[in-house]
């Protein structure tokens, strides 16, 4: 079928609302009689709760209620696990520990919620928090990942023998013999530090218990409204139909807003039911640093075994992963790391042992990339080091190792984050690399530009790295599409939207199927009252899983339209065409009926709907992929370093991406731009600094630097399309593609820009200061 909208740069349907302030965000919800909550949070990272005195807070005028774990009683239960536990196998250990809404006996990270104050205003609530007297007995804090595993370390969970949260080994082939037969074996320790998602909009929840209707409505900044509804119903003793969760427009999700059952997410609805009042809590920026999940800390001990001509024979990667105080997200992040530690390369032998470690830090859950940037950093850095050792060009060593196109579907022989076999469905990597090298002007830069700049005493460097991104995982999503009497098309789906352009890209898929204008497709997403089957927006799965569910649903509605129109117009279905909101008999344009009229005919006021048929032009369909679709891409960059300050200036940035069928190149490029901006932060600005006592030292945007417009260059985006064979649209995800390889790219380009220092960068994030320190260290040795 020819497409009128799919693949085109269609302007976004949602932008007029967003740009004129007409879009609803959680903090816009303002209900009559609404009360406000502030939390008492622990300053200590690890402490025993001895006593708590709330009497002064309760007496403060304007305070309605104060809650502690003791007052909550049996309702103060740990949240549900957010992913299925790993399969019980002899080489898998997993200790599940989840957070309680309010601290019962022990604080396990600074920022944990100890008490909730409900008051007439947030001001009063905040003041009353200071009236609470809490006696916390400080305990030795577990901060360092390696020390955490020593037998003498304090334990985050005292019922466990150690701070080991999980342990798992994955093997492919026989690494030991690959190593024995290798010409070169490179061995390094690579460290990756913590960062925040730092969404522009912090979290927020408004809950409204309607005591007369026994119905709870919750507005939540969640990426996964349906799991939150299901979880709330179960935890509050309600039926699912008694709970409606609405995720309106979100100012960024990036992972931490994903079905993470936060203490506040349980408490605000619970309080609303206790008091039969609407209750609101909006997270402030400091809370965001202490209460919203973080990611990325890992320590890798890596080996790469190669032949003299740069062919990878095997990789061994043993690593520690910091899960923080709890592990509600299971093994998702470290398994993603393992799944990406072989990168886009044909690696015959692989050995990887992961250890997940509890520390007294904020919980670690997926942030855009979700373990993938770590895996890609490891494999790309090792390849760069190998290339130097073997005297090979970094682009060339990558080309020699790419999985060739005839090897797809490529079985990695390890399991992925969903505990299924990791298979790369499709790909054609070489043309992407060649396009990127061409767009950045690789040969010309290396041959002419760089020598010229060096002669002028300037420090310009180039980097080229590749990455894979496993995307579009199950279980499933669904959509219901309805042709309305006004001729417009209603689409309801369970996934929420955080800026991805769903209102447009999904509308394009529907508009092509039903022959309507893309502006006449009205999407409702993230409201469980509209659609209540599905999981959510994460793991770069919206366009793949929800996109294909919408595609299937639109095809079913198209069939219904054609059937009814055929009867009405007295013409065979194959002679009908859908265009401009009309069904026309081909070649006889005046013999037509509008979709609105057809919709009315399908929903008669008199007469009966015949047995076996349904009223309306409506269909619901679901899509669940067999396994995830794997996207591929190359990032390339030219940067210049000011050796006085070690500040970098990005001269040129290129991304070439193959995420299968492109629904809307403009939206895709927007995703990539945003992702690269986040990646630049990850690579060179953003680092959460914790001290030895697990105290966060830079909990403000004055000290935790996120890139602004001046740090983000113009980005040239090129596309290749290798459609995924796993779904009818051929789509693969792209939500995380911009972010994943940037730290690896920075490291390569910086080394290339500063050849006289012979830097070898095996850590991320960097900063001007850190590059300076690395050079000082190098000069001393």
């Amino acid at each position: 079928m020819a497409t009128k909208f799919v693949g085109k740069r269609v302007q976004r349907n949602e932008d007029p609302r967003l740009l004129t302030g007409q879009a609803l965000f959680v903090d816009d919800v303002d209900l009559a009689g609404m009360l406000h909550v502030a939390f008492l949070r622990s300053d200590y990272a690890h402490a025993r709760l001895k006593s708590i005195d709330i009497s002064a807070a309760q007496k403060r005028p304007g305070v309605v209620a104060v809650y502690t774990a003791e007052i909550m009683g049996d309702d103060c239960q740990p949240g549900p696990p957010l992913v299925s536990p790993p399969p019980t196998a002899k080489n898998v250990l997993f200790n599940s520990r989840r957070q309680v809404p309010l601290v019962i006996d022990k604080v396990r990270h600074a920022g944990e919620t100890i008490a909730a104050v409900v008051a007439e205003s947030r001001y009063i609530a905040e003041d009353a928090v200071e009236d609470i007297i809490v006696d916390l007995e400080p305990l030795a804090a577990v901060s360092d990942l390696e020390k955490a595993l020593s037998p003498t370390s304090a334990r985050v969970h005292e019922d466990l023998d150690s701070n080991l949260a999980a342990h798992m080994v994955q093997e492919k082939g026989d690494y030991a013999s690959a190593r024995a037969n290798a010409d070169v074996v490179i061995k390094r320790r690579i460290t990756i530090d913590r960062g925040a998602a730092a969404a522009m909009e912090n979290r927020g929840i408004v809950a409204d218990w309607d005591a007369k209707n026994h119905h709870l409505t919750v507005w939540d900044t969640t990426q996964a409204p349906i799991p939150i509804r299901n979880g709330l119903a179960s935890r509050l003793g309600l039926s699912e139909h008694q709970v409606r969760v609405i995720a309106p427009f979100l100012g960024g999700g990036f992972g931490p807003k994903m079905m993470m059952f936060y203490p506040e997410e349980m408490l605000i609805p619970w309080i609303s039911m206790k008091l039969a009042k609407p209750i609101k809590w909006i997270e402030d920026r400091r809370e965001n640093f202490y209460a919203t999940t973080q990611e990325r800390v890992q320590i890798h001990d890596v080996e790469m075994a190669l032949t003299r001509d740069g062919r990878i024979l095997g990789i061994s990667d043993n690593f520690l992963h910091d899960t923080g105080a709890f592990d509600p997200y299971g093994l998702t992040i470290p398994l993603n790391t393992q799944s990406h530690a072989m990168g886009a390369y044909d690696v015959p032998n692989f050995h990887s042992e992961l250890k997940v470690v509890f520390t007294n830090k904020v919980i670690s859950t997926p942030i855009r990339g979700a373990g993938r940037p770590q895996g890609i950093y490891v494999v790309e850095r090792m390849l760069d080091i190998a290339a130097k050792e073997l005297g090979l060009d970094p682009v060339e060593i990558r080309k020699r190792n790419f999985i060739p196109p005839d090897k797809f579907p490529y079985e990695q022989e390890i399991i992925d984050q969903a505990f299924s076999q990791l298979i790369f469905d499709s790909g054609n990597y070489l043309p992407v690399m060649e396009k990127a090298a061409k767009l950045i002007g690789y040969d010309q830069f290396v041959r002419e530009e760089q020598p010229r700049l060096r002669a002028e005493g300037r420090h310009a460097g180039i980097g080229v790295v590749s990455f894979v991104e496993t995307t579009g995982v199950g279980p499933y999503e669904g959509a219901r599409i309805t042709v309305q009497a006004n001729g417009k098309i209603g689409v309801a789906t369970g996934v929420g939207t955080q800026g991805q352009g769903h209102y447009t890209s999904f509308a394009q898929v529907v508009a092509d199927q039903l022959g309507v204008d893309v502006r006449d497709v009205q999407l409702v997403s993230g409201d469980t009252a509209e659609f209540h089957w599905g999981t959510g927006t994460f793991a770069s799965r919206g366009a793949v899983v929800a996109g294909n569910a919408i595609h299937e649903s639109a095809k079913a509605v198209r069939a219904k339209i054609l059937k009814l129109a055929s009867e009405t117009l007295g013409a065979p279905e194959e002679e009908l065409e859908l265009e401009d909101g009309q069904v026309r008999v081909a070649d006889i344009p005046h013999q037509s009926i509008s979709l609105g009229e057809l919709a009315s005919l399908a929903n008669p006021l008199r007469g009966a709907v015949e047995p076996g048929s349904e009223p309306g032009l409506e269909a619901t369909a679901y899509f669940g992929p067999k396994y995830g679709a794997t996207a591929f891409g190359v990032h390339a960059m030219i940067l210049e370093v000011d050796v006085e300050t070690m500040m970098v200036n990005i001269k040129k940035y290129v991304v070439v991406e193959d995420c299968g069928t492109i629904l809307n190149p403009m939206i895709l490029e927007g995703q990539i731009h945003g992702g690269v901006a986040m990646g630049i932060g990850n690579a060179f600005y953003e680092k959460l600094v914790y001290d030895d006592n697990a105290q966060l030292l830079n909990a403000s945007l004055a000290d935790y630097l996120i890139p602004s417009a001046t740090e983000v260059p113009r980005i040239v985006v090129g596309h290749e399309e290798t459609p995924s064979p796993l779904n009818s649209l051929g789509t693969k995800g792209a939500g995380e593609a911009g972010t994943i390889p940037v730290p690896a790219l920075f490291a390569q380009a910086l080394e290339n820009a500063l050849p006289e220092y012979k830097l070898e960068i095996v850590e991320t994030p960097l900063s001007p200061n850190r590059v300076f320190e690395l050079i000082q260290k190098k000069e001393k040795t």
Partner: protein
């Protein structure tokens, strides 16, 4: 955070020892101090009110003096907490008679700082702590000299402690010397937080039993 340094008092060691053991004098050297009470043989409590912007509240310090060797040295252990955060730590103070009528104080210790104090004030902590300690020691030295002079002349002690504003201004001046951008409001807020931190640390160091 490690803190160490030294200070030369213009007075004999016995007088310095006396002054650092006198809660009333100490309280005047540290603006914002509400109270300093002896609660045991070698135990004190000090309360300090800090109320600026997002970091307001009462800060309470519990101090323990040990290893006391008058007039030479002592060890102080502090546990301070309040809505701005907490401080735990211990440090040693050693007084050496220089033989020229002056006394050299050496101090070193390690403190753990948490909460808003650590997370919001971190970037200025080092500079501000040094400055604040110096300002407070200057104030003490002035008190010391007033006391020495009064003793010599047999008169009553004449000494006006610096006001809270003067104290803050002196620290701000030191901070400005560090060329710390133009975010004046932020710096002022942070400085006052830091004063609270350091004051508590300092109380713990010097206000022994």
């Amino acid at each position: 955070m490690k803190i160490d340094g030294e200070y030369l008092f213009k007075g004999p060691r016995e007088e310095v020892w006396e002054i650092i053991r006198d809660p009333e004098v100490l309280a005047t050297a540290l603006p914002g101090t509400k109270s300093l009470d002896k609660v045991g043989e070698n135990e004190y409590r000090g309360d300090m009110n800090v109320k600026v912007g997002p970091v307001g509240g009462l800060f309470s310090g519990h101090l323990l003096v040990s290893n006391e060797v008058p007039p030479e040295s002592l060890t102080l252990t502090v546990d301070g907490r309040g809505s701005p955060g907490f401080i735990n730590g211990s440090g040693n103070v050693v007084l050496t008679d220089t033989g020229e009528g002056t006394t050299l104080m050496k101090y070193d210790g390690e403190v753990q700082i948490g909460g808003k104090l650590a997370s919001v004030g971190q970037r200025l902590l080092d500079t501000a702590s040094k400055s604040t300690i110096r300002q407070a020691l200057d104030a003490l030295d002035m008190a010391l000299q007033a006391r020495v002079a009064a003793k010599a002349e047999g008169k009553a002690v004449e000494y006006t402690p610096p006001s809270e504003t003067q104290f803050a201004a002196a620290v701000a001046k030191d901070m400005a010397g560090q060329a710390l951008s133009s975010r004046t409001l932020w710096i002022i807020i942070a400085i006052i937080v830091i004063i609270a931190v350091i004051a508590a640390i300092w109380i713990s160091r010097t206000h022994g039993g």
